[in-house]
């Protein structure tokens, strides 16, 4: 009788033991993986710190925000409408993204967030943080050099990294002997530019031809009415890439879905020998 009872008790305990043994495995399986999303910018106290990045989790509605000046990472839970402070030792860098342990301390600080149209905002560690689309940042206006552009705009920098231009076209561009000046008018608020310009800039940096000079101009919203280098040049849409060979305007390039700027430029150089 006693033996039977003990056996029954042991059988009853078995599922609990099994669950306890499996728990660490499931915790590992549920560790959250996040990838950077450069479509969004992180504004902290009115400025856009370099390397402040929004990471998108594989779990819907969960985002990790890395603000280098914050002591902790910030886990944004859109469904629960809160931001939880995540100790940095629970965040690991993995394969171009981050992995968060699921064991966030229960006493971790949490902050309420507010959705204001297309923006999310909250206050964490006395810092006012806003998440907004990169296109909604104040634009770059006027002449800008490539290094300054890619330092300030991660969406351009990462877009350049992601593009693989056609090597044969790059070789054609690299060997071109005539003097070329390319004036590129674009806007950091323009979605077509965000798609096209990183490809174009990657092509220009790959060509490495001293005969090809690139001038970049950021244009403001309502640029047709605003004064600047875009005026008097018949620029009605952006991006507009004006290609001059030996001082003479040869053609203009614009963005198209699936555009391959290196092939277009190589074709132009082949035609103007």
């Amino acid at each position: 009788m006693t033996v039977k009872r003990t056996a029954h008790r042991m059988l009853g305990v078995l599922p609990v033991v099994a669950v306890a043994l499996l728990l660490p495995c499931s915790a590992r399986a549920q560790a959250m993986v996040c990838k950077p999303n450069y479509d969004y910018s992180v504004e902290v106290d009115g400025s856009f710190p370099k390397n402040a990045t929004l990471y998108q989790s594989t779990t819907p509605g969960m985002y990790f925000i890395d603000v280098p000046t914050c002591k902790t990472g910030l886990l944004m839970d859109m469904k629960a409408r809160k931001v939880v402070a995540v100790p940095r030792d629970l965040v690991k860098t993995v394969d171009g993204g981050l992995q968060l342990s699921d064991t966030v301390p229960p006493a971790a600080a949490a902050y309420a967030l507010a959705v204001d149209g297309p923006m999310v905002q909250f206050q964490a560690e006395d810092k006012k943080v806003r998440i907004l689309r990169c296109l909604d940042r104040p634009p770059i206006v006027g002449a800008v050099d490539l290094d300054a552009l890619v330092t300030d705009r991660p969406e351009y920098r990462e877009g350049m990294k992601a593009y693989s231009p056609d090597p044969a076209s790059i070789a054609t561009m690299g060997k071109y002997a005539k003097r070329v000046q390319i004036d590129a008018f674009f806007a950091t608020w323009c979605p077509h530019c965000k798609e096209y310009m990183p490809k174009f800039l990657r092509v220009m940096s790959e060509a490495k031809n001293p005969n090809i000079k690139l001038n970049l101009y950021g244009v403001p919203k309502g640029f047709t009415q605003a004064p600047g280098p875009w005026q008097g040049r018949n620029i009605n849409s952006i991006p507009t890439i004006i290609v001059k060979v030996d001082g003479r305007e040869i053609t203009r390039m614009a963005s198209q879905p699936g555009a391959e700027p290196e092939k277009e430029l190589a074709g132009i150089f082949d035609a103007v020998k």
């Binding site: 149209g117 923006m119 689309r133």
Partner: protein
């Protein structure tokens, strides 16, 4: 008739009269067919024509909601009466007035910097304002030909003319009202089973959809029902073996973000140029299953049931 030689430098012979009249009839019928086609094509998607009229900024959305359907009826009625030969002088003059109004509106559009297609032949025929002005001038020429050629021709008998007029008004009005509910989307839009992503003009824009199985949701993220649709799609997407759900919308990036932060859908929503996406629907929402870039099935009004998705996979 003046019989004195020299009183008129050119005397009309029966042959010249018949040529002139034949040209007049040709102009009348051609112009009538143009108006009929324009009215019919607009009538296939009256809501889109309301949107296009409002986009000119001359009248507000509410007034456009009345003016646009009225214009469709007017064009069809004018087309029918021209073809039927009802009061040719009056219908010819009315045509000229209407065409001059269109030319004025298009000229305003050009002055205001509009470059997108007008909706003169409905949402599925794309032309620029400048092209439209050229066409309208040609149609004014047809109207002048009809008026000049049919001078002295009374047209259809009054009783029959009245019957034609009443029938045209009633039938065109009924067509405009009933059109959105007619099951003609497969014929009117580009989206139907068997089409490829390239046929839909999306292959270059969304190359990631060329591989694998996707359920594409054409949705209006600003519609209050969008949250309910997103919830149904989330439930579908969570089923084992379900296709990847992707939302496509004509909304702006800002509207998509407002939707993303408030509704928190479990699927990606992407903005597609209105000119491109509008060719795929008359009314939103609309859904389709893509397998390796080919449309397998289309669903109107509500997301497919999980069982439908399995059957479309099997087919």
């Amino acid at each position: 008739m003046d019989a004195t030689p020299g009183a008129r430098p050119y005397q009309q012979t029966p042959r010249t009269v018949s040529w002139r009249r034949a040209a007049g009839h040709l102009g009348r019928v051609a112009l009538g067919i143009v108006f009929l086609a324009a009215g019919f094509l607009k009538g296939l998607d009256p809501a889109e024509f309301v949107h296009q009229v409002a986009a000119y900024g001359l009248i507000g959305m509410r007034l456009s909601g009345v003016a646009a359907p009225a214009l469709i009826v007017l064009e069809i009625v004018l087309g029918v009466t021209l073809v039927a030969g009802v009061r040719p002088l009056l219908t010819g003059l009315a045509s000229i007035l209407l065409l001059l109004m269109f030319i004025g509106i298009e000229a305003y559009g050009i002055a205001a910097g509009r470059t997108e297609a007008c909706g003169c032949f409905g949402a599925y025929v794309q032309r620029t304002p400048a092209q439209v002005i050229g066409e309208d001038l040609l149609f004014v020429g047809l109207a002048i030909l009809a008026i000049a050629g049919l001078r002295g021709w009374a047209g259809t008998r009054p009783g029959r003319a009245a019957a034609v007029l009443v029938a045209a008004i009633v039938l065109s009005g009924a067509f405009v009202v009933a059109s959105p509910s007619l099951p003609i989307d497969d014929y009117v839009t580009r989206l139907r089973a068997g089409r490829t992503l390239a046929d839909l003009d999306l292959a270059a824009r969304l190359p990631e959809l060329l591989r694998g199985r996707h359920l594409i949701a054409l949705i209006d993220v600003t519609d209050p029902r969008a949250a309910e649709i997103a919830s149904a799609l989330d439930a579908l997407a969570s089923r084992p073996g379900a296709p990847v759900v992707v939302g496509l919308t004509p909304a702006t990036e800002q509207e998509i973000d407002a939707f993303r932060w408030t509704v928190v859908p479990a699927f990606e929503v992407k903005s597609v140029d209105r000119v491109v996406i509008k060719r795929l629907y008359r009314r939103l929402p609309r859904f389709f299953v893509l397998d390796s870039g080919r449309v397998m099935a289309v669903y109107d009004g509500a997301p497919p049931e999980a069982g439908d998705l399995l059957s479309s996979e099997a087919s």
